[in-house]
């Protein structure tokens, strides 16, 4: 990431304004950090290696209901009942 323009674009995307006076310093710091990150980018890793996003395997729940398995035919039947001229009628949200 060499250009100041890219830094400005990132700042716009992140809704963070970098003071003009600090722009060069931040650009230099970010460039060095990205260089450290490139150690990861340049790694040759197996395609099938599964990424790990969390170390929590407790199966916690944010909601009280749970997923139920239904037969495909039941899903179709449900859909047929909800279809109006080929469209699913959804509840009004606004």
């Amino acid at each position: 990431m060499e250009q100041v323009e890219l830094l400005k674009k990132l700042a716009t995307l992140a809704l963070v304004e970098v003071e003009e006076a600090k722009l060069e310093l931040i650009r230099r710091d970010i460039e060095r950090i990205v260089e450290m990150f490139n150690k990861i980018r340049d790694l040759n890793l197996p395609e099938d290696l599964e990424p790990l996003y969390t170390t929590y395997f407790g199966g916690g729940n944010l909601r009280d209901d749970s997923v139920e398995r239904v037969k495909e035919s039941e899903v179709q039947e449900l859909l047929d009942r909800k279809l109006e001229e080929g469209y699913v009628k959804a509840p009004r949200t606004l």
């Binding site: 990431m1 830094l7 990132l10 700042a11 995307l13 992140a14 809704l15 963070v16 304004e17 970098v18 003071e19 600090k22 931040i26 710091d29 970010i30 060095r32 950090i33 990205v34 450290m36 990150f37 150690k39 990861i40 980018r41 790694l43 890793l45 290696l49 599964e50 990424p51 790990l52 996003y53 969390t54 170390t55 929590y56 407790g58 916690g60 729940n61 944010l62």
Partner: protein, 484 residues
Amino acid sequence: MHSPQCTDLATISIETLRARVEEDPDFLFKYIEEVYKVIERCEETIRAYITLRPMEDVIKEAEGILKRGSPGPLGGALVAVKDNISTKGIRTTCGSRMLENYVPPYSATVVKRIEAAGGIIIGKTNMDEFAMGSTTENSSFFPTRNPWDPERVPGGSSGGSAAAVAACEATVALGSDTGGSIRLPAAYTGTVGLKPTYGLVSRYGLVAYASSLDQIGPIGRRVGDVARVLSVIAGYDPRDSTSLKVEVPDYSLFVKDEPLRKYRAVVVEEMVGEGVDRGVVKVLEQVVNKLEGYDIEVEFRSMPVLEYSLPAYYIIAMAEASSNLARYDGLRYGIHLGTEGLLWTKAYTQVRKVGFGDEVKRRILLGTYVLSEGLYEGYYMKAAKVRRMIYDSFRKLFSEFDLALSPTAPAPPPKLGEVVTDPLKLYSLDINTVPINLAGLPAISVPGGVAGGLPVGVQLFGPPLSEGVLLNVARIIEVIVSCE
């Protein structure tokens, strides 16, 4: 280890405090007054607190505890709480201008549990802004100083919590640890700091930095105090979707001067290799030698993947931070600047420009960068794959060993201003602590000795939910060090 600020009375353990209060309830008031005297004498230099509660409020709460008939497991202990943990009615700033006037309408689960167990919140401690830093110099308000040498940093990001405990300005403290933020300040201040297994302690009420890595944990002057607080705060909480449904033992039962069983320990070669100060390595070697006298067998193993842990950690943490911190826009959370009438993007940007400090902005920018289209696969996805490799390597390691040892920090605490202006130097302080967070493992930092007149921490870590083993071995190290 007690810093020069401590007095005999201010340094007592929770166990002693509890016993003395049961004997004579007025002892609690004497103790509170003593701690406030220490604060009055030291706080001007140390600056551990962002918000200190008035002594009258604390005494009133102590009266309430005594009226219950039992002082509870914490016996009226004065608990300093890191300022990113929500406390109902007490300002919670996260060390940031963005939240400088934020007073939460609810308390974090850990705070509720502390209060129910007879602990009294004495104040909110200084920290690196939004926990982004390793020295507490990134606080928007002021830096905290190390009680052992005020020219040096106390570590971070829970530097205020560790300094408060080290200087006897509190009995114990709560910190949060995303990549070493409890253990590093514990190592630098000669205190004991424990990062629990991911999910063991509820994060409900903890202001999120990197949610897949954050954990709350205790800091104390003794292993016994840390075990006691952990027993109080650990356990399932339906309000945290990543809370583990496990039975929590009384961790105090593990705090024994002898091994509870035969342990096999390992030193990972990469954690004592290049870049680690010789004085720090020597302290670890001395500890290892003494442990062998306790029939704890210590072997060496290599884990080459650790070479990638620092960049993998910072990619993941910054990516999560850029998402978590999107809520600070002046509308949902954050300062109000009177931006009415401005285009929403301009209004949000203005608030974030004024509210966030440079390090936070840098991490948000980098998080946005690694998540952007075309770069996501090369950075974030690969970092998550490296995380898997680290996780699997530790699993393999702990199928053979009960625990591992390493220096907590690669060197003694730096002087104020020495590393904070160089982000790479700052990040490298976390080299031995971040792999543990990536794998969600428990770890404890315990004073292992002294190098150059400054405390050196030894890190013990183990497989998930091995806190009991770590506390047992940490206590043995405490005994070894106190004998010396």
